[in-house]
Amino acid sequence: MPEQLWFTELLNHYLGAPVAALLHALGIRPEYPQAPISNAVAMEVLVVLLLLAFFLFVRARMSVDKPGGMQHIVETVEEFVAEQAHGVIGHGYERYVPYALAVGYFILLANLLGLIPGFESPTASPVVPLGCAVVTFIYYHFHGIRTHGGHYVKQFIGPVWLLAPLMLLIEIVSHFARILSLTVRLFANMFAGDMVTLAFFSLVPVLVPVVFLGLHLGVALVQTFIFVMLTLVYLGMAVSEEH
């Protein structure tokens, strides 16, 4: 049995059997049949539940005349992301702000959850950033095709016909490299942050690791910003009209 956090244990206690049955029906063999839900998945579920509770709370108390503190925070974040999207994508950016906000909130809370004792960052395991990156990849290609239709292929073959096969190959590789770089950047930052804290904790177990937790807090915010910005940049490149 692997080491389980309390929330993972709770989920496995109540949902372990149905999840194991579902995985078995799909032909997947979990590594530990007694505890099919891993820490990363449990923390992801917790992040989603927290976000749902937070936004239901904010939505219930939303008011135009007397906005509360929570509403101010949410509106500030929304305005910030919309402003960045306007700068990167330009005309017609409103359609893409909800996705960027959703992925941003998820990653931000997932990163920050690791700072609380008793929890760990789901983004510190490679599976979760990979999921976010793959969804982003599908999303921007979908909007590229929706905007340009068949002409979307022109972005991949470049302006010179003779070089088209070469360009196509390079572009396909570079688009898949985006998945890799988005995944590894987020995963490695979170993982390395945990590792550094742990390494200094094993050297000096008092006070010093707190400095690195502070550093980790900054890294968590910056990595969220970068993930959202890169999502917007890729979207902007996919839907731009110049090509």
Partner: protein, 100 residues
């Protein structure tokens, strides 16, 4: 007296607590692995430091010349730093995968 108590307490924490968190057992007897990891990570971090220093220097210069262009410059700064940094992280992940 307080100082002495504090020092004794600190000494006890430092000497008693550290072995608790020490990693147990040397898994690899290959002496070249730690040297390779140190060299690789050192090279990656040092060269990325040179690159990021150039980015930060250029940003400072640009902001000094034209403080009004802050939003655009900051966007380029963050994305540029992220791309440079991700190369170090690729190295880190590769080393981690190869050694563990």
């Amino acid at each position: 007296m307080r100082k002495l108590t504090f020092l004794v307490l600190l000494f006890v924490i430092l000497t008693v607590a550290s072995p608790v968190y020490a990693q147990g057992g040397a898994t690899s007897s290959n002496w070249s692995v730690p040297i390779g990891v140190g060299l690789g990570m050192g090279l990656a971090a040092g060269l990325a430091g040179l690159g990021q220093g150039k980015v930060a220097g250029s940003v400072a210069e640009a902001l000094a010349r034209n403080p009004g262009a802050r939003p655009g410059i900051q966007l380029a700064l963050f994305i540029g730093l992220a791309f440079i940094e991700s190369l170090v992280l690729f190295t880190f992940v590769l080393l981690f995968l190869r050694t563990s």
